[in-house]
Structure formats: C-alpha cells, structure tokens
C-alpha cells in the first residue's frame, strides 16, 4: 500500500487520501547503532539509504538537529550537472548524474529530475578556451558536452541578449544532461526510502559532542541523550568544521553565506539553466514557474543563513544584463545558505584521523548536485573503511600534500571563489 503510483493515487482519491502512511517513521533513538549519520539533509539521508541498500547495513540512525532537509538541501538552486574540468571531479559528478537519472525509480519518489540542459556562456577568447578545455575534458571521459556558437545560444535561450553592450556573448558550453531537481523531494525521497529499509530518522536531535576513546569514536552526545555508534559519518554542510572540531579535527574550511532568490510564478520563459560568464549570475525556471537564481557568496564568514544587499545588487544587475526581459519580473524571496568553503573549492569525503569517524563535507556551493553520489561514496567509505575510486581524491590530507583540486585557481581564499 505504501508504494507510490498513479494507480494508488487513483485508489486513494476515493477514500479522501486518508490511508497514505507516513513518509517516514518518527522513532525514538535506540541506545546504539552500527552507524550514526549526523545531519538529515540530502547527503546524510542518501548515505543512510545507500548504507542499507548497497552494503546491507540497516542498523543506522540519521540524527538531525531540526526537521530533515531544511539546511542547504532546502536552500539551494536545485541544479544538477557534471560539467567539471578535472577528472578527479568529473568522474565523481558524472556518477552522481547517473544516479540522478535513475533516482525516481530507485526511490519510488518523484524528485522531478529534469534534464533540460545547463548552459554556461562565455564572453572572450580566453573564456572560450577555458570552456573548451573543460568541455573536451568531459568528452574524453564520456560525459556529454557541446560548444555552442552565438546562433546556437540564441536558439537555445532566446531571451539572452547576445550583445549586451559590455560583454557580448561569444558562445556557450552546454551539457544537455544537466538540469534541475526538486530539492525538497530529494530529502523526502531518500528519507522515505531509507526508512523503509529500516533506518531510523531522528529529527530534533542536535549533536552536542562526539565521544572518542582511544582515538576511536564511541557515539554522539545529543540533546536527546548519548547515542552509541560503532561508526559515525558527518554530513552537516555549513557546520562541518564545527562538528569536526568536536572530535578535535581542524579542517581547511570557512563557512560563508550564499544567497539565492526566486521570482513570482510565470509562464515558461527560460527552459534550461543558464550561467552568465561576465558576472555572477545563473538562472533556471522551476516547473511551478518561479525563476530560481543566484550568484556569488557574500564573501565573509557567516552562519547567518541570510545575506546582504551588495551581493543582491550585483546578481540582479548581471541578471538584467544577461536577460533584459527580466527587468520587470518581480522577485518574491531571497534567502541564504551556509556553505562549507574549502581552500580549493572541492569537497571532502574521507576517513579522518579519528578511527571510524568519516566526513562528507566541504561542498562549497555545489553540494546539491552531488547528493546521490556523495551519499553513495560516503556509505562506501564508511562500510569499507576505505574510499571508493570516485572519492579517492577528496581527502583532508590533499592540502598538506599539495594535491589541491582547484578548478577556479583561486587558491586558499574562499572569499574570492
């Protein structure tokens, strides 16, 4: 009965939809688990799901300080893509995109993964060359990418002003398999699927400490008491460095605020995700009609989940420059998420110096698209106590070793990324 389908929807219509079960249970925490995942966002829930599904580890709890899915999972601009330059990144993100492509059937929950294309515009020869290098790198690895000229850009996103008077558009790099997904549904879908495999999702349970003895984790102190754990995985975007600190680990991470925006609901005007190359701006339109857009981080350490006007002004100026027809569109809401900004712009999914403590974090502003693969790799790393090939490079030690994965070349300056 609990399976979702058009048929069940039809049947339930005649009983006033009174028989739908809870999407996930609301259990009290058990005294101990084989694995405790800290953080009930998309990443943590996905890790729990894949621990159960791929590794048969079902004595798992996900502990979340509030309700699930309301951190960065519920605050992002919903983009999925795998258009990275470095093989260390694009193999991982391509795996993520493949998981996205089968996610609804796997989870039996429609997360509305919609591959309508992600297009990055370029405005100079130098930018074209960087995009070409990236696109070629993707193609060599079997990932789809197309280099569009001006006419092709015009046909793909007719509202873009190719001659904006300042930074004319010369072309764009398109990944057709990129697109968007319904962010809340990703958390809910993973939660429901993990729950059905026996995972306890424990909301309103804040971790206040990580108990370590003999350099090995024992469990977590929480606002609902101590919960024992043989292994602990952290998936607490924005707060990764704080939680790691509870186990005595210093991470090369700063927390910054990234703002996002949504407009009023409009009839279709932008079909794909499109990114301005001459300023910080990207935009897509949700199925409901809202234009979802964002830009750069505000550029100062913050846990505030809200930003300030200077970034807003830049983002909207870039928006109207790229798509002049946006000018009279009215924007409904702005909000902020707290980003774990690593010192090279790439994530961390690895073991830690504390035995049986694992981290999935450091996603900068790109964590949403990584959700399935991050959970999958985190689960693999926890279950095997060793990374998968896909996350082998996402270590903490890479900074000490000089093996940074710095796509933008901005260096250890998160405020510049």
């Amino acid at each position: 009965m609990s399976r979702y389908s058009a048929f069940q929807l039809f049947v339930n219509a005649f009983t006033g939809h009174r028989s739908w079960p809870r999407a996930w249970r609301d259990p009290a925490p058990k005294p101990a688990y084989d694995v405790v995942i800290v953080g009930g966002g998309g990443h943590g829930l996905a890790a729990a799901y894949y621990l159960a599904k791929e590794h048969g580890i079902t004595n798992v709890a996900v502990v979340e300080k509030g309700p699930i899915g309301l951190g960065n999972t519920g605050r992002n601009t919903t983009i999925v893509r795998s258009n990275y330059m470095f093989p260390q990144n694009h193999h991982f993100y391509e795996w993520s995109l493949k998981l996205w492509e089968g996610l609804e059937q796997d989870l039996n929950f429609n997360a509305m993964v919609s591959q309508r294309g992600v297009l990055g515009l370029f405005h100079s020869d130098a930018q074209r060359q960087v995009f070409a290098r990236r696109g070629n790198s993707m193609r060599l690895s079997g990932i789809d990418a197309e280099l569009l000229d001006r006419d092709q850009v015009r046909a793909f996103v007719p509202l873009v002003d190719l001659d904006n008077g300042r930074f004319p558009v010369m072309g764009g790099l398109l990944q057709r398999r990129g697109g968007t997904a319904r962010h809340d549904a990703v958390a809910w879908g993973f939660a429901r699927a993990a729950d059905r495999r026996g995972v306890d999702i424990i909301q309103h349970c804040e971790v206040t400490g990580i108990r370590v003895a003999g350099n090995r984790v024992q469990g977590v102190e929480t606002t609902r008491g101590f919960i024992g754990a043989k292994k602990i995985g952290l998936a607490v975007a924005g707060n990764t460095s704080r939680l790691a600190q509870m186990a005595g680990i210093s991470l090369p991470i700063e927390s910054h605020v990234l703002q996002a925006f949504v407009s009023e609901s409009l009839k279709p005007m932008i079909d794909c995700v499109v990114t301005f190359g001459a300023g910080h701006f990207y935009i897509s339109q949700s199925d409901k009609g809202g234009l979802v857009f964002g830009g750069n981080i505000d550029g100062y350490n913050s846990y505030a989940q809200r930003g300030n006007l200077p970034t807003v002004e830049h983002v909207w100026s870039a928006g109207v420059t790229m798509i002049p027809a946006l000018s009279r569109v009215r924007v409904l809401r702005q909000w902020g998420g707290v980003m774990d900004m690593t010192m090279d712009g790439s994530p961390i999914i690895c073991r830690t110096p504390v035995e049986n403590l694992y981290i999935d974090g450091g996603w900068c502003y790109g964590g949403f698209k990584a959700t399935p693969a991050a959970g999958w790799c985190h689960a693999h790393t926890i279950a095997r106590d060793a990374p998968h090939e896909f996350n082998r490079h996402f270590t903490i030690d890479r900074f000490r070793e000089g093996l940074m994965i710095d796509e933008r070349g901005a260096g250890p300056s998160p405020w510049l990324q």
């Binding site: 979702y4 389908s5 058009a6 219509a13 006033g16 939809h17 999407a23 996930w24 609301d26 309301l70 093989p87 429609n110 509305m112 919609s114 130098a126 074209r128 070409a132 290098r133 070629n136 790198s137 060599l140 990418a145 280099l147 904006n164 300042r166 930074f167 319904r182 809340d184 809910w188 009023e264 609901s265 409009l266 009839k267 279709p268 005007m269 001459a278 300023g279 199925d287 009609g289 300030n308 006007l309 002004e313 100026s317 109207v320 420059t321 002049p324 027809a325 946006l326 000018s327 009279r328 569109v329 009215r330 924007v331 702005q334 909000w335 890479r398 940074m404 070349g409 260096g411 250890p412």
Partner: protein, 980 residues
C-alpha cells in the same frame, strides 16, 4: 451596472480614466485602483487560481491580495501577477486576466477542479515516474505549460531605474496613525526622518474614517513643513538587513502610463537608519470554510475600504462572517451605503456589538458560522449555521464579508531577527524584544484602534528620540480616544463542513491538504509549507498563512505558538529585478577603463577587446582586411618581427615602491632577488601565493637606492597591490616601505622589432640608446617631443624592444612622435592579438598559463626560485604534490601537418580515441616565423616529450590534430634578438 456610490470616497470624480480589462473598456476615476474601478463596474470574476483554475475575485484592498492578479500593460512594459488593489488607475491602463485559456469565463483547465480529488497536495511526488523517459518528454512539458501565472515581457524594459542612498535618524515604515504619530514626534525633536508608505496616500486606516481626516491632514501637513522630513508615498520597505540598513522601492511612475521624460519608473532606496519604527499595520485574516475562495467573498476590512475610500459598494446584499468586533464597522457602513445586510454570522456566543447591531435591526446570528457558498461562478447564496452545524439556512447574498481577525505585519521585524511571541489576546504573533535598533508600533505589534495606535506610535517615536539622545520631545495632538464597549475576538480558523476550504487561495491549498501533509509526516510547519506550497505564492500567505498554521496545530494537537510560522525572509512585497539592478545593466554593467591612448586607437580604426575592465586594441584592420581579422593580426606581428611595431601596454599594473626597505620588501614578495638590482636596471620577477602557486609576474626597475618601479599583469594589478598592502601592513609592519598604484598615471608603449632602435633613436632625446650604453634591461629617463619619458629596454615579444612610459597627459604626443620617427622603417601599431602571437612564438607565459594552478617549476621557471631567504610561497611550494615529476610542464606544440589548425583548449592524448588526457593546449596562434600554427601547452612529463608526437584532441568538434612537442621557445631559443 455601476456599484459606485453617489457620493463619498477619496476620488476625483471630475477626472474620468478609461481603461481596459481583457479587452473590454471601462471608466474609473482618479484615486481608484484597478480593483476598485472594476468593482465599481460590477466586474467580479477577475482571475483563475493556480492549480484548479477556480474562479476568483477581489479579496483584499492591498498588497496582501492573493487572487486578483493581472498582467498589466502590454508589450515590453508588460508585468505579470500585479495585484489589482495596488495598481493605481491611469488613463489608458490595459490589463489582462491570466492563467486561463481560452478565456476567463470559459477556462479549459478548470477541469482540474473536477479532477481535484486526484490532485491532492504533493500528488506529483507520487506519480509521473513511469516510464522514466516520459518525465522530460511528456509529463514535465505539460506541467510547465499549465503552471505559472502570468506572462512576463519578452523584450528589454524601455524604462529606467534609479538608486538612491539615504541616511536618517529615524525611518518610519507605515503612515497609519502609529506611523504618523511616531514620525511627528521624531520630527518635532529635530530628528532627520524618512517616512515610507506603500500606498499612494498617507494615512493607512485613517483614510477609511472621514472623522479622522482633520487629524490626518494636519499631521501630514506638519510633517511636510519640516525640512528634515522626507515623505515617501508609493514606497515599500522590502527588506531589513544588517547594521540597520533597509531597502525600499519607490514607485515613481507606476501610476502613469509611462514615466515622464528623464524620470525613472522606480527608485531603489538604501536607507541607513539610526533608529527604525515599524508601523506596518496588520493583515486581516481569512477563515477557512467551503467556498471561501468564491468571487464575492471579500475581507471585511477591504469591503470597508472599498466603501469609504473608493465609494464602491462591493455588493447589494451581504453576509458578514466574523470572529471579532471590527467587522461590525463594515456591516454598519455597508448598511449606511444602502447594502442590505442579510445576516452577521458571529462565531462568538455573545458580543456587545452583536446586541447593538440587533437593536439596529440587523439579523445577527451569534455562535454561527458560514458553512457554504452557493452560486455559479460567484457568490449567490451563503449558508449560515450554528457552530455545531445545526439550523443551517441558505441566505440570498452576493457579498460575503469575512474577518478572521488581524495578524500584525511582522515581516520586517522578523527579518531584523526580532523573535516572535504568541499573543493570546489577538490570536497572532507579535514582535518580541528587538535585536536591532528598532521598535514596532500600533497594529504592527497588536495594538488595534486608531487612538491606541497613535498613542503607541507617539511612544515609539519618543523612544527613538531618546535612543538618539536628541533630548526633549514636544507633545503632539493625537486623535481622540473613543471609549466603546467591546468583546474580545475569539480565535477561529476553520469551519469543518463538506467542500474545499482554502487556506491559500492563490496556490489552491485546502485544509485537507494541510491535514494530508500532517498524516504523511510533513508535520513541521516548514515541511507542511513546502509539501503543500502553502503561503509560498506571490502574497506569501499574508491572509491565510496563520490559518494554515492553525489547521496544522490542530492536527498535531499542539498550540499555534508551538507550531510557529515559517521564517520571514525578504521581500516583504515582491521587488522588480530592474529597480535593484538600477543603471548597472547592459553597457553599464561594469565600468570601462580606457588607456590615455584610447582616442588615438579609435581614430585609427582599432577593434577593441575587453581585458578585465579595460578596453584594449585587439588589432587595427587596414583596407582589404575587413573580412578576415587574421590578415591584420599577421601583418602586425610580421611588422614586429621584420621591422618595428608599437603597442599600447598602459594597462599593465604599475606600482611605485619607495623606502629604505623597499628592496628587502620586494625580495620577500618575489621568488627572486631585487635588493641587489643595480640602479638603472630592470629585472623580471615572479611572485607566488603563499600556497606556492604562481600569482603574478612582471618587470621591476630600480630608479634609486630606495625607489623601485614595479609592473604587474593587467589582470592582477589590483590583487597584487592588495597582497602587498596586506604584507606591508600586517606581516612586516617594521619595514620602511611605501607604495602606491600609478597604473593610470603612466601611459606606456612598447616599440619592438629589429628596427626599434633606429626608430626610437630619432624620437628620444637625452638618452643614448646604443647597445653598449643602454643594454638589455637598462632603464633611463629621456624626452620625446619635449615630454618627459622613462625608457625601459625590456621585451615581451622577444624582439629588440623598448618600453616608453610617459605621464598619461603626454601619451598622444609621445606616441605620435614615435610613429613619426618610425615611419621610414614602417612602424606599425599592433594590438593584443599580435602581442599574444608574438609571446607564444617566444614561449613567454601569460594568463592562460598562469591560471592559478601552476608552479614555477611547471612553467620552467625554477631558476627564478632563490636558494636563500624568505619569500611568500616558498615553504608550501615544496609540498610533495607541487614538486611531483608527473606534474604538467610547459611545452611548445606544432602540428605535424603544417596546414592543420591547433586550438587552445584541446587535450593532449597519446592516440586518437584515447580518453586519457596527458595535458592540454593553453594557447595557440598561427606563427609568422614558422608558417604554421604553434602553441603552448601543459604536458605531464614535459621535456621528456620533446620531439615526440601526440594528438591534440578537440572532441567538441571531433577534431584530432597530430602534434610534435617542442621546447616552448618557438623562435630565438638563444634569446639573442633582445640583446641585439
């Protein structure tokens, strides 16, 4: 049929304004809104809802309107989703209903309403999953087409926008009784006051009571007389940010068909306020009952507004449904205006006002509710019954006025991080202890009634004055308090009866949807909101948000206080993109920097390209070259290799460094040594970031023992200066060194080519350019055309070259003099493209190679790393990953087939079809020396590949070009020419 009352209202009846709605013409008056004018014309069906396409009318008289949304204006000025009650009528206004097809009256998708049992909250999460490929191809396109409300314009906006920065002592948001009183108190105390009011008239609720007009007018007039008071009607404060900074939008010309010439359409105010008074009033609430979305259902306060302010009777026969006393004012006013009151359904078992109304002959049914609404597309009958459902009676009525009480407008207070407290007295959330320098007043904190609000506003004004330390405040006249017996309102949210009872009219969210969300575990208010989309529409749930929370609270068996409200975020009302973007759009999106020689380049036909903010000549097409830019680029580069060319290099960053420790400071910034540089000599320098990655390069000259002249790349000029300031001020403050950017103070031009000396010698006075007297890397002062110049014998092209710098004001005469002197040698101006070609031939690295990833070793510059002494980046550059032998290193590349084209952005692979990238092509150009394309690349293994072959793969174009790997110096490997 006109519903306009014969008299009254705040209209100018002498001014008739013509407008159209869905193509039909109507007439209204100055002072009308689109909503009041349509209502006066008897138009009740004005829109269709989002999901079920149910018929919708006008519910409110303000920006909280959920239903009556239109596309306003046409063409490039079209705006979607405009709430009719905030659209001021103007002559020639055009409006279209939206989200309906083919017409408002006959909307095909209203079939969704019949199918609604299959479309509960979140139905789409449970279906559309099979077959997988159908989502993008079938389901989603259908959903996208049917979703959305209005159509946005497709063209660029013909109007423009303005930005204004303001500071004030007290910002008052809202001009009702509380706001006016607060502003008046502050103004009288000498404070600089800004008063923002979203409406086009100041007064808020005062506008609805003629008895209060004198006080309103006198107070506004007193404020207007104060020179330090700025009154801003049509101005919505949309956001409350850190440090008491607030954003507001003034709708300067939205009440006109088009902005007058030179006037913006809207103005964005950034207001830095020392103190803030939030007098934003309250939102009247819905009650959830079946049919509460039907056209003809109007909030009681809105009905009063239409009567009193706009002289419109919203119906002929009304039922009033209330849980509070205020709605009785509406009932009495309706009756006074000739509207029959069929009944008042008061949920309270007894009320003083109920008794009064009964004595006045009105049928008041205490302890009663509305259980249903009958009719075709709008209200024709209203069923009133006891709260237990008994004694239901269907009353003929075309108007149903509803009041579920009032919720303080706490959006801005909440944005300023003020906690929200639950008030049982008003059954709503009120602002708690402020965090920023702010206080709420009047209805915005649950103090209802004009006199009470005014008094509370005065108190808030005095508190602001005290916080500012402005001293004594004067007493001001306040509206008289009206003593009146009343009965507290009773919290009441929902009538449980069969049929759809809406908590969100725009998104079609019903009470059942909220309960479904709860049953399925989406019980937290944020989950319920997101699952059902409750309170996420353009009105942000101002009328129904709390009702939904109450339904959820009941389902959870908890108090509304425990359930709470979703977080309030900007914007308090939607804000158009254009107004925040302001003038920084299109060609003004980023500032343009032009060199001192820009006008010369323009006169000589240069094609420009952007280099950061700079405009630089890319090349100078000559007759016959218009069709093919390569002809120009190659001609210019050939001129440099064979004769002499001249290039404007003024955009390079220039920093003047002085002080006793200048040399030591530069030694620590650069990987190589500058303290040993002789006076009158230049040296190439390499700078790292502290993480050991190459940051920048350039030449630095020593002009005196304690005086250096540094250059940076064009791209990094600002960052290098900041980097230097950081180190000088915070890391080594003990060093005696001062520096400042002089990029714009000096124009510089590079004369390069085998005949450069011949050409320059004729132009330069006071300096012997002979090789022995002025060798490679020499620096000296001289004159050209009587202008002071500094000559540097440095070269980027690899040819014999001199860089001539002159104070920017002399740029043109110096350039012209060199051009004249070089004419006999064929001196040719060359642009950035030829410059790029020349440096690739020479194997000099530039932006494409210094992308923030490469080390000095990667670039073959390890000789630049000094053995002794500290410098930025030294230690971390030694990390194993940065010295690993397999790191890509700089190489030269040439196609094996001399006709083949090499593309930057290609990857280097061992064989066609091989997916393993060994490196990539960073730069490529056709060579003028070698008669084939050449390139630079980064290749794992580097020089081990010299003279071996690889493929440059460009799979984006399905291209594979076989290339030979070479030394990066394609020409003059021995570096002889620069010393010639």
């Amino acid at each position: 049929m006109s519903h306009r009352l014969a008299s009254g209202g705040r209209l100018d009846r002498t001014r008739r304004l013509r407008f159209t709605f869905d193509g039909r013409s109507y007439v209204g008056h100055a002072g009308d809104t689109l909503a009041s004018a349509l209502m006066a014309n008897g138009v009740r069906l004005v829109g269709r809802s989002f999901k079920y396409h149910r018929p919708r009318g006008i519910l409110t008289a303000g920006p909280d309107e959920p239903s009556a949304l239109v596309e306003l204006r046409a063409g490039a000025r079209r705006e979607a989703n405009m709430p009719m009650p905030v659209v001021e009528l103007f002559d020639g206004l055009e409006a279209q209903s939206q989200n309906r097809w083919p017409s408002l009256a006959f909307d095909i998708l209203s079939v969704n309403s019949l199918l609604s049992r299959f479309l509960p909250a979140g139905f789409y999460y449970k279906t559309f999953m099979w077959p997988a490929a159908f989502w993008e191809k079938v389901y989603e396109p259908l959903i996208r087409r049917s979703a959305g409300l209005g159509w946005a314009a497709k063209e660029a906006d013909p109007d423009h926008y303005e930005t204004r920065h303001a500071h004030c002592d007290v910002l008052v948001a809202g001009s009702g009784a509380a706001g006016l009183a607060a502003a008046r108190i502050a103004a009288e105390a000498g404070a600089r006051v800004i008063l923002c009011e979203q409406d086009f008239e100041l007064g808020g609720g005062l506008l609805l009571d003629p008895a209060l007009e004198d006080w309103r007018a006198a107070t506004v007039a007193a404020l207007a007389r104060q020179s330090e008071v700025t009154l801003l009607p049509r101005t919505t404060v949309f956001g409350y940010y850190d440090s008491n900074v607030l954003g507001a939008v003034e709708r300067v010309a939205d009440h006109l068909a088009e902005p007058p010439e030179h006037q913006p359409r809207q103005r964005y105010w950034t207001i830095r306020a020392r103190e803030v008074v939030l007098a934003t009033g309250a939102h009247e609430r819905l009650i959830a009952f079946p049919g509460n979305d039907r056209p003809g259902v109007v909030l009681a306060g809105a009905a009063l507004s239409y009567l009193r302010r706009f002289a419109v009777a919203p119906g002929k026969r009304a039922v009033v449904f209330t849980n509070n006393d205020e709605a009785y004012d509406t009932a009495l006013a309706l009756r006074e205006a000739g509207v029959e009151i069929a009944a008042i359904a008061d949920v309270r078992p007894a009320a003083v006002r109920a008794d009064e109304a009964r004595r006045a002959g009105i049928d008041v049914r205490s302890g009663s509710v509305v259980t249903g609404v009958g009719g075709g597309r709008d209200v024709e009958r209203v069923t009133v019954a006891r709260r237990n459902g008994a004694d239901g009676e269907s009353l003929a009525a075309d108007l149903l006025c509803v009041s579920g009480g009032h919720s303080p407008a706490i959006e801005l207070a909440s944005q300023s991080r003020t906690p929200l407290d639950w008030s049982d007295a008003i059954a709503g959330f009120v602002p708690g202890q402020p965090v920023q320098r702010q206080r709420s007043a009047g209805a915005a904190r649950g103090i209802f009634g004009v006199a009470e609000a005014a008094s509370d506003g005065a108190t808030a004004g005095r508190a602001a004055v005290a916080a500012l330390g402005l001293g004594k405040t004067e007493a001001i006249a306040l509206p008289p308090a009206v003593a009146r017996a009343g009965t507290p309102s009773e919290p009441f949210w929902e009538v449980k009866a069969s049929g759809k009872a809406f908590v969100d009219l725009q998104h079609d969210v019903t009470t059942e949807d909220i309960r479904l969300a709860h049953r399925e575990g989406y019980a937290h208010i944020e989950h319920a909101k997101r699952y059902t989309t409750h309170a996420m529409a353009t009105d942000q749930g101002k009328t129904g948000g709390l009702v939904g929370a109450a339904v959820l609270a009941e389902a959870r068996g908890e108090s509304i206080a425990a359930v709470g409200m979703p977080t309030y975020r900007p914007y308090a009302s939607p804000v158009s993109f254009g107004v925040i973007a302001g003038h920084a759009v299109g060609k003004n999106f980023a500032p343009v920097r032009r060199t001192a020689l820009h006008a010369w380049h323009v006169r000589h036909g240069a094609r420009f390209m952007e280099a950061g903010m700079w405009m630089r000549p890319a090349y100078y097409p000559q007759p016959g070259e218009e069709k093919d830019a390569w002809l120009s680029v190659l001609r210019e580069a050939r001129a440099v290799r064979r004769a002499v060319g001249i290039c404007d290099v003024s955009t390079l960053g220039k920093i003047d460094v002085q002080g006793k420790d200048a040399g030591v400071f530069l030694d620590r910034l650069y990987t190589n040594t500058f303290s040993t540089l002789p006076i009158g000599r230049a040296r190439y320098g390499l700078m790292l970031r502290e993480d050991g990655i190459v940051f920048d390069d350039g030449t630095t000259s020593r002009l005196a023992d304690d005086h250096f002249f540094m250059t940076t790349t064009t791209a990094n000029a600002a960052r290098v200066l900041e980097h230097m300031e950081y180190h000088a001020q915070t890391v080594w403050p003990e060093l005696d060194v001062q520096f400042c950017a002089v990029t714009d103070h000096w124009a510089s031009m590079s004369a390069a080519g085998p005949k450069a000396r011949l050409a320059l010698a004729k132009a330069v006075q006071g300096l012997d350019l002979a090789n022995a007297a002025f060798p490679f890397m020499a620096v000296g002062d001289a004159q050209v055309a009587g202008c002071p110049v500094r000559v540097f014998r440095i070269s980027f092209s690899g040819e014999l070259a001199y860089e001539v710098a002159t104070p920017a004001g002399f740029a043109e005469p110096v350039w012209e003099a060199i051009m004249a002197a070089g004419a006999e040698h064929g001196i040719t101006p060359y642009g950035v493209e030829a410059l790029g070609l020349l440096r690739i031939e020479k194997g000099h690295v530039a932006g494409a190679e210094l992308g923030g990833h490469t080390t000095a070793r990667d670039l073959g510059l390890e000789r630049m790393l000094k053995k002794n002494g500290d410098y930025v980046g030294r230690v971390l550059a030694g990390r194993p990953g940065l010295v690993a032998p397999e790191r890509p290193r700089l190489v030269g590349l040439r196609p094996v087939d001399p006709k083949a084209r090499l593309r930057a952005g290609s990857h280097l692979v061992a064989a066609v079809g091989d997916g393993q990238s060994l490196g990539w092509v960073t730069s490529a150009m056709p060579s003028v020396e070698l008669d084939c394309w050449i390139g630079l690349g980064m290749l794992s293994g580097g020089e081990a590949w010299h003279d071996k072959r690889l493929f440059a793969a460009f799979p984006l174009y399905d291209e594979y070009v076989e290339v030979a790997v070479t030394h990066p110096h394609h020409v003059d490997h021995e570096n002889a020419r620069v010393r010639a």
